[in-house]
Symmetry: C2
Subunit: 445 residues, 2 copies
């Protein structure tokens, strides 16, 4: 028989620690700033909505943080995830490159998001919290948190962006199957929602405001975020740690690592363990041309949300109230990126590339017809970059993150196959206007 297709690990190979890349980052870390005072934000700014266990992880300078046993137990429901060698894609491309992909779509929610939903639910349950509130766009994060809450006996309240609530009813059904209650945002449950009632289709910014408001007002309820923050990236590093062990089994070392970047958590989770190991490896971040934060944004302090309730973070941003044109990769439609990922792009350690919607679906269909798995629109961006990298005639080893399946995105495939899919351009004028509204903050050297 030819070489292996899948590389599996036993359950006891689930990592025992998360990798915190903060001590490895170039230069001194830039602190987040309080939106009220403009001064560095401390743990106290976060206690109304996060438990101390997570705040401690958020600000930790330690290089490794132990994974609690109950979290490792819950990870066993789907981890370690498989690493695949893409033999059939390689043959279809006629490439000399060896291509591997780490597949996170085997989780019950279908993506990498439960890697952080589980420890977030666990830490909140430990702290005596009874309920978590969150927002969700396309529904990947909301369904992952609903799943995690069902395992730890927490209630879960999700504010789902109105347009997604209407267009993706099955993600809502999934959350409800796991016991969550789901509100169409803007809702009449919150002041933020009522004040935005005229924006009927909603936005991630409004949904965040609603969830934060619910959490801030109820002492037994906290808020949970699915990307961007340090502790979220931390939790995702199980991905890269497993990939390192699996590539050793395959007797391979990557020359190139590729992931898609929205908030940056699946990307960081795959890449950071290789950076910690000190690998001399090319790293490529793939993003949508319709929301090109890393390739077109400015490096500046900006709010994490649209309405300016969160601390200011140092990041590449298109402006906190920039509204990206609609693309099916909802998970990549964020105006900024995780500060840790941005610091590495800024330092030249990560190369960013932007792709148009149709070329990513072309890559995804090619992948599906070779490898079987139908990718979510987000990792389709990574696949596009992989095909590019594999087409230069060179022998090399490529690793990429296939962070989720596309079972809830088939309307987008339908549009692509019917030739009805658009390549929306973002507006330069909108970008200029949004950048002019950046908050006042210290310039970053």
């Amino acid at each position: 028989m030819p070489e292996s297709t899948k590389f599996l690990l036993p359950e006891d190979a689930i990592p025992t620690h998360w990798i915190n890349l903060v001590p490895d980052l170039p230069g001194e870390p830039l602190p987040p700033l309080s939106p009220r005072t403009g001064q560095p934000a401390g743990p106290d700014d976060l206690t109304p909505i996060f438990p101390m266990g997570l705040i401690a992880q958020e600000v930790s300078p330690e290089p490794e943080i132990p994974i609690p046993d109950p979290v490792r137990e819950a990870y066993k429901l789907w981890r370690p995830t498989p690493l695949f060698r893409a033999h059939r894609l390689e043959r279809a491309l006629g490439t000399k490159a060896r291509i591997f992909y780490k597949y996170e779509g085997v989780s019950p929610a279908g993506s990498h998001k439960p890697n952080t939903a589980i420890p977030q639910a666990y830490e909140n349950a430990q702290a005596g919290i009874r309920k978590l509130a969150t927002e969700t766009g396309a529904g990947q994060w909301g369904s992952s948190l609903a799943f995690a809450c069902s395992l730890f006996g927490l209630e879960c309240e999700v504010f789902m962006v109105g347009s997604s609530y209407d267009q993706k009813p099955y993600r809502r059904s999934m959350m409800e199957t796991w016991g969550a209650s789901v509100h169409r945002s803007p809702s009449d449950r919150t002041e933020a929602g009522r004040s935005q009632a005229e924006h009927d289709t909603g936005s991630l910014g409004i949904a965040i405001s609603e969830a934060v408001e619910v959490a801030a007002q109820d002492p037994s309820c906290n808020y949970a975020l699915g990307s961007v923050l340090n502790h979220v990236l931390l939790h995702q590093t199980v991905i890269g740690q497993e990939a390192i062990a699996q590539l050793e089994e395959a007797d391979a070392r990557p020359d190139v690592i590729i992931g898609c970047v929205g908030g940056g958590s699946n990307f960081a989770g795959l890449v950071f363990p290789f950076l910690r190991r000190g690998d001399d490896v090319k790293i490529v971040a793939a993003e949508p041309a319709a929301c090109p934060t890393l390739t077109r944004g400015v490096y500046s302090y900006d709010y994490g949300d649209t309405v300016g309730m969160t601390p200011l973070m140092p990041m590449y941003t298109l402006g906190h109230d920039f509204v990206p044109p609609p693309v099916h990769a909802g998970g990549l439609r964020y105006h900024g990126d995780a500060p840790m990922v941005c610091a590495l792009v800024r330092a030249g350690r990560i190369e960013a590339r932007a792709y148009k919607q149709n070329e990513t679906f072309e890559a995804a269909v090619r992948f599906a017809r070779a490898e079987g798995i139908i990718p979510a629109p987000e990792p389709a961006h990574a696949i596009r970059a992989v095909i590019e990298e594999a087409s230069d005639g060179e022998e090399k080893t490529i690793l990429f993150g296939l962070c989720g399946h596309g079972h809830f995105d088939l309307a987008a495939y339908d549009a692509y196959l019917a030739g009805r899919l658009e390549d929306p351009e973002f507006s330069e004028a909108d970008l200029d206007a949004a950048l002019a509204r950046l908050p006042e903050a210290p310039a970053i050297a």
Copy 2:
């Protein structure tokens, strides 16, 4: 850490042979009968629509049949599938039973169906066939065959029951993503379709007729069936063989094995290897009360399809033109069952139980909230039986088949959670009328 949650096998543990239970069945096997002559049907009756490689498997008396290497290579895309210990469900039920489940939803198409789609596509490609035609109801089989055809370079033409085509557009999109062409049945592509144009919502019977017509008229095109026939059950025995190896790793032997039965292929695939081993184990087949073939049907020769084009097979049947009331478990809405499974029920080796729709969804939601995976409506019937078996206070080991996920069935969960799900009863009068229309055939002793 507590006991293992998942039992995985390496790729070289993919079985090398399929298990053919024909020689183990009680009594002499009853031959299928030609629909034209009423005489035993031979291989020649099948050559217009099946390749000799599959016909040889269909009629083989050999106890084991080797799996071709290219089929094992393709199986590696998702096999071996995991066996889970349902620790969290056990705790939620407060049971003394140990519960294991074999999960087939990790295949790219989301169910056990690719286990037979792959060897069917392979044998047809080997025979120089260029295209496969088939029917599909809810879409599980059609998408599995589309996936398999994409791997072996075959065209795939699927006739999808009109009502499903309208209600489940995403299964169609999935088939098209893998390159298949999908027709709403009844279509104007075939005489059968045109003659049934007044039945606009279609039926599995009409869709079968359309696919068989296309295959019979085009020498480069064959037909493929996803259940019932001996060679299909044969291909599914990889499930039970892997489960035996995994339970050995878990140091467990099942006292009870439970599966859902529609045509019978996932059930047979799980159970037959344990029967071959001679296990003294209770075996339970779970079916819908709305289509109770094994619990209410008569054991008789009947057509496999609605319009009477297929050979007559000895089976429990509700009558070939009995139309079961609509339930979401579309894969269990078949008027008969695989002859091999029926022979074992007839001999008392398998116990059949029928469940109403709401009680199966109640079980499925309980399962999802404990174990994470959202089951398809078909295996929800098995889960219902598992909960029953686990609730008698006895220590025992239960194994069941979780043959697919419910990612394309969330509208049904929605209806259940909203209290809108019905428990349709089948009509005694319709049953009596359908049984009165059974074809003339020798009585079975």
